[in-house]
């Protein structure tokens, strides 16, 4: 039976658990791999631009596909994704830290269930509920809906990231006289950063996708273009809305990947 080869020929038994604990561990990227994605996305955008230029746009298409409208939609979309992810981090990381402290064991399940419900309920349903039940619309409502939807991956990864830190290292830290808070900030959190960042990256991508629904509650974004194309049966408009959303998602994923590389503590 062939087992998975361990790195640098180390014995299988020793590497297997280590590999399981650090799923995001990977080689630093080369310059070429850094340039690939932006080049690809630029080509896609140029292709899209040329395609739209080659079309004869009727008045409905022109209403959606003009520079100021498209620019506004992209900016709204970036704001939706960025602000919602900011609040996701603000809520989920401290909550994750809190829920991994031993004294919270008794109600850990309840809070995780709530976070699970947040992700299980469709975003459009949350939006409709806010609008109908509380007359809560627009950008703030969209942010609340998106945050509820994306809290879970960051919360989960924060908890997993903290729990995978080797108990012996913590023991050693405490032995050196570091306070409980010091152990958290100087040992546990830095060691959990790669996994937390992977969760943040997931949340960002979820938010870029789900933010297209914000157009249904007057919060704008690229969904406005997409929905305009769908509701008026204009294929060109649909393509522009869809491609721009995809490009934005890939670009943000790419930037988040770089942030992961940069923010990962040295030596991990």
């Amino acid at each position: 039976m062939t087992q998975t080869e361990g790195e640098s020929g180390a014995p299988d038994l020793a590497t297997a658990p280590a590999a399981a604990m650090a799923p995001v561990r990977r080689e630093r990227r080369t310059l070429g791999s850094y340039l690939f994605m932006p080049t690809f996305l630029a080509l896609v955008l140029i292709g899209l631009y040329l395609y739209v230029q080659s079309q004869e746009l009727d008045s409905i298409e022109q209403r959606s596909l003009n520079a100021s409208n498209v620019g506004k939609a992209i900016w709204e979309h970036v704001q939706l994704a960025a602000v919602s992810t900011f609040f996701v981090i603000l809520i989920a990381v401290p909550l994750g830290v809190f829920l991994t402290r031993p004294f919270t064991r008794s109600f850990r399940g309840v809070l995780l269930t709530i976070a699970n419900i947040g992700q299980a309920v469709p975003t459009i349903g949350v939006f409709a509920l806010f609008a109908v039940a509380f007359l809560f619309l627009g950008f703030p409502a969209a942010i609340v809906g998106l945050v509820a939807y994306a809290v879970l991956p960051v919360l989960r990864n924060t908890m997993v990231g903290l729990e995978q830190v080797d108990e012996n290292i913590l023991e050693a830290g405490r032995g050196m006289g570091i306070s409980k808070f010091g152990v958290l900030t100087r040992i546990e959190l830095p060691l959990a950063v790669p996994i937390i960042l992977a969760g943040v990256r997931t949340a960002l991508i979820i938010n870029v996708g789900a933010a297209t629904l914000a157009a249904y509650i007057n919060a704008g974004g690229l969904g406005r273009i997409l929905i305009a194309g769908l509701s008026t049966n204009r294929l060109t408009v649909q393509i522009v809305g869809a491609v721009l959303t995809a490009v934005l998602a890939l670009l943000i994923d790419y930037l988040a990947g770089i942030a992961e590389d940069v923010l990962r503590p040295k030596g991990l």
Binding site: S59, R63, S64, A128, A131, L135, L137, Y216, N218, A228
Partner: protein, 315 residues
């Protein structure tokens, strides 16, 4: 292939039928049947299929038609009454025999015209053009399911608004109160918001883009004005007042029964049975029926039966 003249019902020779139908010139006599039921037997032996689109109004109209035809002795297959998006294709392919279409949809979606070249008499133009496709349009009902701007009845009374011109004037005087809730399609279409503002020379102060389902609930809260469909049951449920389109900007979407010409030739009685029914279908009548289905949760079948009964069409 649904224009079948009754196979099983060739019970009696068409003597009775010939008497009954002498006025109609029906050539479906081969189907013959024994005597009329409660309602008459103009369509005795006819087997017909009525289609509908996938929303309540279309299904109510289909039910009214099916029940009226059954009352006249026809057998109507109810399978297609539940509605489908491809009802026009089904009609052309012969899978159904008839359904209610809207004049505006006929002009734009079926005949491929734009809303900038609207004829004076939309129904006549559509009926004439569609005849080339061998589709016959029976005279349109007065009901007009089209775009309208609505306000809460309270707001309409406070500011004495009854027409779009009143609204344009009100918004010019109160520029901050001219918020409108609308769905994407209305905001984008030339015969929607952009054209409306041009026709009445005014501009809403803010456009709140929402899913259409949310628009009805937000009037009076998020916005003073809202895009509605003029015969929507939620107009009654949310106590809204529909503003009259006094400059006749919006395209007419009068409902008319459409059927293949061969079906009409075979059963000309359909036109006579449906004429008074179609005439009675006003905005008020259909809006009330839509509300009964969409708001109160009654079935299309019951609502249609009740309406036919109340208006004496089953006599």
């Amino acid at each position: 292939m649904n224009v079948r003249t009754g196979k099983a019902s060739v019970v009696a020779v068409g003597g009775v039928l010939a008497l009954l139908l002498s006025a109609c010139g029906d050539d479906a006599g081969s189907g013959g049947g024994g005597g009329g039921g409660e309602g008459g037997a103009e369509l005795e032996g006819a087997e017909l299929t009525v289609g509908a689109k996938e929303f309540a109004e279309s299904k109510i109209l289909a039910q009214i038609t099916a029940q009226a035809l059954e009352n006249a002795g026809a057998t109507v297959d109810d399978a297609s009454l539940s509605g489908s998006a491809t009802v026009r294709e089904a009609l052309e392919a012969g899978e159904i025999d008839m359904y209610w279409e809207y004049t505006g949809t006929g002009w734009v979606n079926i005949l491929g015209n734009t809303t900038t070249d609207l004829p004076e008499d939309l129904f006549a133009a559509v009926a004439e053009a569609d005849a080339e496709n061998d589709i016959a349009w029976l005279p349109a009902a007065p009901m007009n399911d089209t775009y309208r701007i609505a306000v809460t009845t309270e707001f309409a009374e406070e500011n004495s608004l009854s027409t779009m011109s009143d609204a344009a004037e009100y918004i010019a005087d109160n520029p901050d109160d001219g918020t409108v809730c609308a769905a994407s399609e209305f905001i984008q279409r030339d015969d929607g918001l952009p054209g409306l503002q041009k026709a009445y020379s005014f501009e809403f102060s803010e456009v709140v883009e929402l899913d259409l389902g949310l628009v009805y609930t937000q009037v009076g809260d998020t916005c003073n004005f809202a895009e509605v469909f003029s015969t929507d049951g939620r107009i009654l449920a949310n106590e809204l007042t529909v503003l009259e389109d006094d400059l006749e900007f919006f395209v007419d979407y009068n409902a008319a029964l459409t059927l293949r010409q061969e079906t009409l030739d075979e059963f000309p009685a359909i036109a006579e049975i449906m004429a008074p029914i179609s005439e009675a279908l006003t905005d008020e009548e259909i809006t009330a029926m839509n509300a009964a289905v969409d708001v109160d949760g009654e079935t299309e079948e019951d609502v249609a039966a009740q309406w036919l009964e109340d208006n004496g069409f089953l006599g």
